[in-house]
């Protein structure tokens, strides 16, 4: 199974200017969104190609087409010149394409080795799974990526980072010519990332074609040879990394000069609205203390899994803290449920829009009025005219694009769903609005609208807490930035004294920025 150092003969003989995989004119639509329109992409043996683009640019859709999860509506996939199709994930694997997916494609109840070899386990006599060999092979793959994980352990007992390494091992357990890595470093620590880079170099030396998807520019410039840029589902540029630079890539990515993305306007910052002190949770976060002022945007930066969302959900009453106090407008508040948080004027726009935000299946106007039903109803009886009035007022402020307000919110694009969620909260006239990754996975147009709207809100005297993993967004929008790592606050910086490097170092725990660390 393992394919150590010997490159596949076909690859080693292929001249480097001949793509091993070529996509042309690929289009894919979903109800309400056109995810990809006529994109092309070429991968060369022994070459790392970076696929760059903002969230929602269509990168993950492309990965799913490459790996047989989705079928393209139009376009052709050529493998070494022959046109192919991948009706299922199995076919893509057979064709020599393997992928590390963004979502972990793993199973808690199976062992590490079973997770790595699910679907292609080594068989012994009579066709039964050869467990001994499977465990040995799994151990070899894990060793190859430098992961000290017991192949016999049950996956549910592993942490997030280890699970991610298992996912990487799974991708490398098949003999592949093409390796797709969809943000492989997102959940890894500094050391593990270095090991992953070394692995990429080895795969390159073996003659594999690698498609590397990442948001991190330093990473791209460090390991990629070529780049392709997607924007809004279209291919807007491709070429050699050596012939481009940071700014050029960003311009391609966002389609406009960098300075104009984030329209944060100065707003008058007033008295404290929300004071949090000594806030702790048994497992998720500890010793959180900060103050949020009227008209302020407070940014929370950190790596994925740093405990930011968990903190916000505790503030919103979804989970209970074990210690600490909240004061709202100087008054001590105990928040036991979201309903109470809403009554106190704290609302939360969750990161997981589909699961926690929008309620697909209900019409737009019913989504908007759900937390405000006591106002739009009389003695518990619904008044549709009032509901439509409220929904109309707030959705129009956010420039919602939809066929009608009685349409199912599930038919809207991600950006418009987000607008519905925000409209829902504005209709409750909150004091504090917590935005958790507010622009993740939405198109550029909606993104700009959300940012512009944030400025508008603070100008009207609202206060905003914004959790974001996108450094430009944090830097562009926040008046103040708090950095979290492993459930603790590790830095707090005013707008004028912070730059990208400081944030990254604090979040990753490199260097002496641990001002708040015990």
């Amino acid at each position: 199974m393992l394919h150590q150092a010997r490159p596949a003969t076909a690859d080693s003989q292929a001249p480097a200017n001949e793509p091993v995989l070529a996509l042309s004119g690929i289009s894919k639509s979903f109800p309400g969104v056109r995810a990809l329109s006529g994109v092309s992409l070429e991968l060369y043996p022994g070459t790392v190609t970076a696929l760059v683009g903002e969230n929602g640019a269509g990168k993950s859709t492309l990965v799913k087409i490459l790996t047989g999860i989705y079928q393209p509506d139009e376009g052709a996939i050529r493998l070494s010149g022959d046109e192919v199709t991948f009706p299922t994930a199995y076919d893509a694997t057979q064709a020599g394409i393997t992928a590390i997916h963004q979502e972990t494609v793993l199973f808690d109840e199976l062992s590490v080795a079973e997770n790595i070899y699910l679907g292609h386990a080594p068989r012994g006599r009579l066709g039964f799974i050869d467990r001994g060999r499977m465990n040995r092979d799994a151990a070899a793959v894990l060793k190859r990526i430098g992961a000290a994980i017991d192949p016999d352990a049950r996956l549910r007992d592993l942490g997030i980072a280890s699970k991610h390494l298992v996912a990487i091992a799974r991708a490398l357990s098949v003999e592949a010519r093409i390796v797709v890595m969809d943000e492989p470093t997102a959940a890894l620590s500094y050391k593990e990332i270095e090991e992953l880079y070394a692995l990429v170099e080895r795969l390159k030396a073996e003659g594999k074609a690698i498609l590397f998807i990442s948001h991190k520019f330093d990473e791209i410039f460090r390991i990629a040879d070529r780049y392709t840029v997607f924007r809004d589902g279209e291919c807007v540029g491709a070429g050699l990394i050596s012939e481009t630079d940071h700014d050029a890539l960003v311009r391609l990515m966002v389609g406009r000069p960098v300075g104009q993305i984030f329209p944060k306007r100065e707003a008058e910052i007033g008295e404290p609205v929300l004071t949090v002190s000594g806030y702790s949770h048994p497992t998720e976060f500890a010793d959180i203390g900060f103050e949020l002022k009227r008209g302020e945007i407070l940014g929370f930066y950190g790596l994925v899994g740093a405990g930011r969302s968990e903190l916000m959900q505790a503030l919103f009453g979804v989970t209970r803290p074990s210690k600490g106090a909240i004061r709202i407008g100087g008054e001590v508040a105990v928040i036991r449920s979201p309903a109470e948080a809403i009554r106190r004027g704290i609302v939360y726009v969750p990161e997981e829009r589909g699961r926690q935000g929008a309620i697909a299946g209900l019409p737009i106007f019913q989504n908007v009025t759900l937390p405000s039903l006591s106002r739009t109803s009389r003695q518990g009886f619904l008044r549709l005219a009032e509901e439509f009035k409220l929904a109309r007022e707030y959705t129009s402020r956010l420039d919602l694009r939809a066929a009608a307000l009685d349409r199912d919110v599930g038919t809207l694009s991600g950006g418009n769903q987000q607008k519905v969620v925000i409209a829902k909260w504005l209709a409750t006239s909150p004091k504090v609005i917590i935005l958790d990754e507010p622009t993740k996975g939405i198109d550029i147009g909606s993104k700009a609208a959300v940012h512009e709207f944030m400025s508008e809100l603070v100008a009207q005297g609202l206060s905003i807490i914004m959790v974001s993993s996108e450094i430009p967004e944090i830097l562009g929008m926040s008046d103040r930035v708090i950095v979290m790592r492993e459930g603790r606050m590790v830095g707090e910086y005013p707008r004028e004294k912070v730059d990208a490097e400081t944030l990254v170092r604090a979040a990753a725990g490199i260097g002496g920025n641990d001002a708040f660390r015990k």
Partner: protein, 326 residues
């Protein structure tokens, strides 16, 4: 070894042993090997059915039609035997298994190709199967005297000290253990139930896997159909009425998560045995058999509550997230 017996199974086994000890304290006769073998034999059919239900539940589905399937195949083989006593028993069993598998496959196709929720499908086929029995038999009973001697004798025939019925259950347990842990299909059951989206990413056909689970469960129900009818030497429309919920209950007590993806062969067997012990012990310790239903109900609730607690423990534990592979 400790790894094979995960805590859930171990705990259930301990509960059963405790139960047996308590009974043995007053009625030592109950734990004599002879009697324990009887208890096992008495539970054999439930064990076989629980193994089938387990596959279905693992894939995040449910089969409410197993008892009706059993009754239908049981009636079919009994009528066949009554009409043509010459057909050898092994052939009858094979026919029963095939018929059961076909009925299971019918459920499976509706779940796979028509995408009707499994609970709706099997709720429907449950009543359809019972109705078909009535149409087949005209509501008449097939009684002991209409069945051939060989037909009735087979499950009772002793073999190395145990009745054939017990041996069949043991073989099924062994077979299922191999299928579940040593075949790609067995692993696919867990994958499909544990994380259906991710299963697609690994090239597993979720619908087809569910179809196979239903088909196998049907085959086991078909096998049980013959065993039930020959053991109790009677077949009529309502045999094993309400038994579908006992089967699910055995699985639930055995720690098989109704949400799919969690469970083991050992758990299903122990869950069924728990039922068997309680049912057989009640008359011995002079408690009215009318207590059985309430006891099994309480056991189900306790088992679900316990399993839910055990599953809730896993959290993300950001603060203690230091075990990362280094």
């Amino acid at each position: 070894m400790a790894k094979l017996l995960k805590s859930r199974e171990l705990l259930l086994a301990a509960v059963i042993v405790l139960l047996l000890t308590a009974i043995a304290w007053r009625f030592p006769g109950f734990v004599r090997p002879r009697n324990l073998a009887n208890v096992f034999n008495d539970t054999s059919i439930l064990i076989i059915l629980a193994l089938g239900q387990m596959m279905v539940i693992l894939t995040r589905c449910i089969d409410l039609s197993m008892a009706a399937n059993l009754a239908l195949t049981g009636m079919a083989v009994a009528m066949l035997n009554a009409a043509m006593p010459g057909i050898p028993v092994p052939l009858l069993i094979a026919l029963g298994v095939l018929l059961g598998a076909a009925l299971g496959a019918f459920n499976g196709v509706l779940v796979w190709k028509v995408e009707i929720p499994p609970i709706v499908v099997t709720l429907g086929t449950l009543t359809i199967f019972r109705g078909i029995i009535f149409l087949m038999s005209g509501g008449a009973w097939i009684n002991a005297h209409q069945m051939s001697a060989a037909f009735k004798a087979f499950p009772r025939a002793p073999l190395l000290g145990l009745p054939v019925l017990s041996w069949i259950a043991l073989i099924m347990i062994a077979l299922m253990a191999v299928v579940i842990t040593r075949t790609p299909l067995g692993r696919a059951f867990y994958a499909v139930g544990g994380n259906p989206t991710a299963a697609v990413y690994t090239g597993i056909d979720v619908g087809r896997t569910r179809f196979l689970a239903f088909t196998f469960a049907g085959a086991l129900a078909g096998l049980s159909g013959y065993l039930w009818v020959s053991r109790y030497a009677v077949a009529y429309v309502d045999i094993a009425g309400g038994f579908e919920l006992d089967i699910i209950a055995a699985c639930v007590i055995g720690g098989i998560s109704i949400a799919g993806g969690i469970g083991s062969v050992g758990g299903a067997v122990l869950g069924a045995l728990f039922f068997g012990v309680v049912k057989n012990a009640l008359p011995v310790i002079n408690i009215s058999p009318f207590w059985q239903l309430a006891i099994s109900g309480s056991a189900i609730i306790l088992a679900v509550a316990f399993n839910a607690r055990a599953e809730r423990k896993k959290g993300r534990l950001i603060l203690r997230n230091r075990e990362a592979a280094a």
